[in-house]
């Protein structure tokens, strides 16, 4: 392929980069106990919540940034970040889409997410997070009918303090790791879902996160609790405007599955990856963990990671209940100077627990990608079973793909398998497509999509379509 053509495509501007000018109510950069008190006060939180945050903050102060990941980035100045930003006038929040700030709606239009349409047509309840405050929540009534609670975490703290108290931090404790501690101290929004016993959530729940207002890190906290025999599918999708300064994003997601519960959590992450020199992209340090507390519970993580300058993310499952199941399906695509260190942890504690890991990594340009996973079989996890497959595809000779799978097996009845391959797109495959009149780039897209099929088929339908499109855009021009 012609080099100029390639260059042109690689240089394609981030089409979703723009800044919406909405006046923010932002605190000056910096972090101390007073900032945390400010956030807590702004959110109208009860005293115990503030205490909880401060506890996390004090632990954070004693911790060090983790350095084990295969990532290279300058140290982050946590005092240069502003920890709170919310659209003005929180009192008169829009009650329906008609009341939503037209500028915000416009933002969604630009993103190709016609909120009202999509919500109505697809039957998806959307809890849109625009910066830090939930702007609109739809389909509340329908969910309320089923008894499902779906609201922002701030509302949940106010309206369902008992549930929040019981579950918040029970999967990812405040001091779990550096970024989780930071999140626990300063989180400003996120979603809360509670599906009561025996209820199958009548629709797929979805939150679109959006980072806006320069210099503010986004610290969401998501908590999903599925009671006995309940089921829910949750979608998370992200995109962000273009800017120059690196933005820190440290989210925490906690899932709790009680007996016979099933949680499906899907993510498409397409944050700004930075320009061609790797400048300006999002730093994405996420802690996601599921606790399969009940017997026969199941949690399935599916992720498509195409954005962010740096991704540090290991959605995990603690398989505590007997016969509980954990799944992790991941496609990570890096191009330009992106770096991703991602994978999963499957901790088998209960008997007959099963886990499946399928990870597909595609590295192009000058990017670097690592799969890092842990499969731990405890001494009591009789007959535990794990299957892991992680494949990497390299496009171009300046990128890197790495695999660091850890296996700690302490039980002779366990069966654990790990397979990994690294290769490039076969010349013969390309040739086969080309001689049938398929353009090289289309052929590559086809092959790459085929490579990722195992993961895409786990995604909910619209997400799968979006993911394939995203993949094509991300890799456009990277192939020669």
């Amino acid at each position: 392929m012609a080099t100029e053509e390639m260059e042109r495509l690689v240089r394609r501007e981030y089409t979703q980069g723009f800044v919406t000018d909405i006046e923010s109510d932002t605190v000056p950069p910096g972090l101390d106990e007073s900032v945390i008190a400010f956030i807590s006060h702004k959110k109208g939180e009860p005293e115990w919540m503030l205490e909880w945050r401060l506890e996390a903050y004090r632990q954070w102060l004693t911790m060090k940034t983790p350095s084990w990941a295969h990532l290279d980035y300058p140290p982050i100045d946590y005092q240069a970040i502003s920890y709170y930003s919310a659209p003005k006038k929180p009192e008169d929040r829009p009650q329906s889409l008609d009341e939503v700030d037209p500028k915000l709606l416009e933002t969604y239009e630009k993103l190709g997410i016609p909120l009202h349409e999509r919500a109505a047509l697809a039957g998806v309840a959307v809890d849109a997070v625009f910066d830090s405050v939930s702007v609109t929540t739809t389909f509340k009534e329908k969910l309320a009918e089923a008894g499902v609670i779906f609201c922002s975490i701030s509302e949940a703290i106010r309206d369902y303090p008992e549930l929040v108290k019981q579950y918040l931090g029970s999967v990812v404790p405040q001091g779990d790791n550096y970024f989780a501690a930071l999140n626990s101290a300063v989180f400003t929004d996120g979603s809360f879902v509670y599906v009561p016993e025996g209820v199958t959530c009548p629709m797929e729940l979805s939150t679109y996160f959006r980072i806006n207002a320069a210099n503010t890190g986004q610290f969401e906290r998501t908590l999903i609790v599925c009671d006995k025999r309940a089921q829910v599918s949750y979608l998370e999708g992200c995109t962000a405007p273009q800017r120059d300064e690196n933005q820190l994003h440290a989210a925490v997601v906690e899932l709790v599955a009680l007996e016979d519960a099933y949680i499906k959590y899907s993510t498409v992450q397409n944050w700004y990856p930075g320009d061609e020199d790797g400048k300006g992209g999002i730093y994405n340090f996420v802690t996601k963990r599921a606790d399969c507390r009940g017997d026969r519970s199941k949690v399935s993580w599916t992720q498509v990671e195409t954005g962010s300058a740096i991704t540090w993310k290991y959605p995990s499952c603690m398989l505590r209940g007997k016969d509980s199941v954990g799944e992790f399906y991941s496609v990570a695509v890096t191009n330009g100077r992106q770096q991703a260190d991602t994978g999963t942890k499957m901790i088998h504690i209960g008997e007959n627990t099963k886990s499946t890991i399928v990870s597909k990594g595609i590295a192009a340009g000058r990017s670097d990608q690592a799969y890092r996973g842990l499969v731990k079989i405890g001494p009591r996890a009789k007959r535990a079973r794990n299957f892991t497959q992680c494949d990497s595809l390299l496009i171009g000779d300046r990128c890197g793909a790495h695999t660091f799978p850890y296996q700690e097996i302490g039980n002779s009845t366990a069966t654990v398998e790990h397979e990994a391959t690294t290769s490039k797109i076969g010349e013969d495959q390309l040739f086969y497509c080309r001689q049938r009149g398929i353009a090289e780039e289309d052929a590559v897209n086809m092959i790459v999509n085929g490579f990722c099929k195992d993961v895409f088929q786990e995604l909910p339908m619209e997400f799968a379509v979006e993911a394939e499109a995203l993949l094509n855009v991300t890799l456009e021009g990277a192939v020669g």
Partner: protein
């Protein structure tokens, strides 16, 4: 509190070094300088804790907190040595607790162009030739144990092959460990320089008296010039009280081939670091390993292949069998450097757990910076396939024997590649004899049942459950 009063473990080792320096005769200045640098390095980094990624699963307290003296004599009963020695025709260098024993060595069959001698001899003959290569592969940033070795190193084996030399009989470097009243440590150094197109088999054999509890810390450096072929065996049958740390580093030139067989049967705490640098086109490294541990044995195998040049190849297969409360660690890493295109690297590790209290920590890693590569790794851990056990039992073989046979069959894939029958037999008998289930292997061999059992394979490591 008490730490203020008692010297740290590192200090104790350094004290011993100082005492040793005082009595050691004059040496070339370069050795003294390297000794000093290594001691400084060791003092700076200390023994690795479990927080060090490379030592995450291995606790070195057994070594760190041990009291190990140094010894100067190589007395060993010839009868007992004969019983321990591998019964093969070989060129043999024997070290007793790290001290060279001329009586137990046999250098008679050496062909022209090959030189096999103790390090002290090589230094006396031409210390500059040794100094030119010694320590080249451990580098400056060497590990704590390599540093400790350099600081203490006095003896070892130097094997040199002139271009085109082919040595038929295996060269055995035997390390005997004695049941001393005071545990001792030794820091042998092995240096192998294989000239262009030369060919040889080197066997490092670790064995000793049953009640020994010594610490052996070997550093081996292997240089393969263009087209050289070296087959390296590690037969590790160290006494069950011994601690062994072995670092084997290989540098390979164009079209050279290095084949490593690493067999671990003994030792209380064993750690191997095997590193090959494939520096030029056509270089190939093959690693085959078998570790069998029971009781409270701890065996840690770290392997690394650096594909530093295009069209270099590696293949690796390690099998682990763990019973009782034994713990095994396998960490295999394949690194493909930038612009090292058309690489093939394969890595496979299978583990068999025979007990619920045994543990395996496996980590097969790939680090790849080039796109035109074919690299794959796989690892499995499981137990014996109950269907296979049943199949054997339905043919009138008692359960224990059936399990033993299947365990041997599991090891078979690696053992089949072993070119020295004496080793294969020794291993087979050791594994069979050491299996928790006792059975009479000899009679089975006679009736030809072993082959049948072995060919059935049948370990539950395939995907079908």
């Amino acid at each position: 509190m008490s730490e203020d009063i008692q010297p740290s473990a590192e200090q104790r080792f350094l004290e011993r070094l100082k005492a040793r320096d005082a009595v050691r005769g004059a040496e070339p200045t370069w050795i003294a300088a390297r000794r000093q640098a290594a001691a400084a390095r060791f003092e700076a980094i200390g023994f690795p804790s479990k927080r060090v990624e490379q030592w995450k699963y291995t606790d070195v307290r057994r070594i760190r907190d041990g009291e190990f003296a140094l010894t100067d004599d190589a007395d060993f009963s010839p009868a007992q040595a004969a019983a321990l020695t591998l019964p093969i025709e070989a060129i043999r260098l024997t070290f007793v607790d790290g001290v060279f024993s001329p009586e137990l060595s046999d250098l008679a069959d050496l062909p022209d162009g090959a030189s096999v001698e103790p390090l002290t001899q090589a230094l006396a003959d031409n210390h500059e030739a040794v100094g030119a290569v010694l320590g080249r592969l451990t580098g400056v940033e060497f590990s704590a144990f390599a540093a400790l070795n350099m600081a203490f190193a006095e003896e070892g084996a130097v094997i040199r092959l002139a271009p085109g030399t082919v040595v038929e009989p295996p060269i055995v470097v035997q390390f005997l460990s004695r049941a001393n009243e005071q545990a001792v440590m030794s820091h042998p150094r092995v240096l192998i320089q294989a000239g262009a197109r030369s060919q040889a088999t080197v066997l490092e054999h670790f064995v000793g008296e049953r009640d020994a509890a010594n610490f052996t810390n070997v550093v081996a450096e292997v240089f393969l010039e263009r087209g050289a072929i070296l087959t390296h065996y590690n037969l590790q049958e160290a006494p069950l009280g011994d601690a062994l740390v072995q670092s084997l580093q290989v540098e390979q030139d164009r079209d050279s081939r290095f084949v490593s067989f690493n067999v671990d049967l003994g030792g209380a705490l064993v750690r191997h670091d095997l590193v090959a640098e494939l520096n030029a086109e056509g270089a190939e490294a093959q690693y085959y390993g078998l570790f069998f541990a029971q009781g409270r044995q701890h065996v840690d195998n770290h392997t690394l292949v650096n594909h530093n040049a295009p069209r270099t190849f590696s293949d690796e297969n390690y099998k682990g069998i763990l019973g009782d409360r034994a713990r095994g660690v396998f960490n295999g890493k394949v690194v493909v450097k930038r612009d090292s295109q058309q690489i093939e690297g394969n890595q496979s590790n299978a583990n068999l757990l025979l007990s619920d209290r045994a543990e395996i920590d496996a980590k097969p890693e790939l680090e790849i910076y080039a796109d035109d590569v074919k690299c794959a790794h796989g690892t499995t851990t499981g137990q014996l396939d109950e269907d296979a056990v049943f199949a054997l039992r339905s043919r009138g073989i008692d359960e224990q024997t059936a399990r033993g046979l299947l365990t041997l069959a599991f090891a078979g894939e690696v053992m089949d590649k072993v070119g020295l029958d004496a080793i294969a037999e020794r291993v087979e008998l050791a594994v069979a004899g050491k299996l928790p289930e006792r059975f009479n292997l000899g009679s089975l061999v006679e009736t030809g049942l072993l082959e049948e059992g072995a060919s059935q394979g049948g370990v539950a490591d395939d995907r079908n459950d």
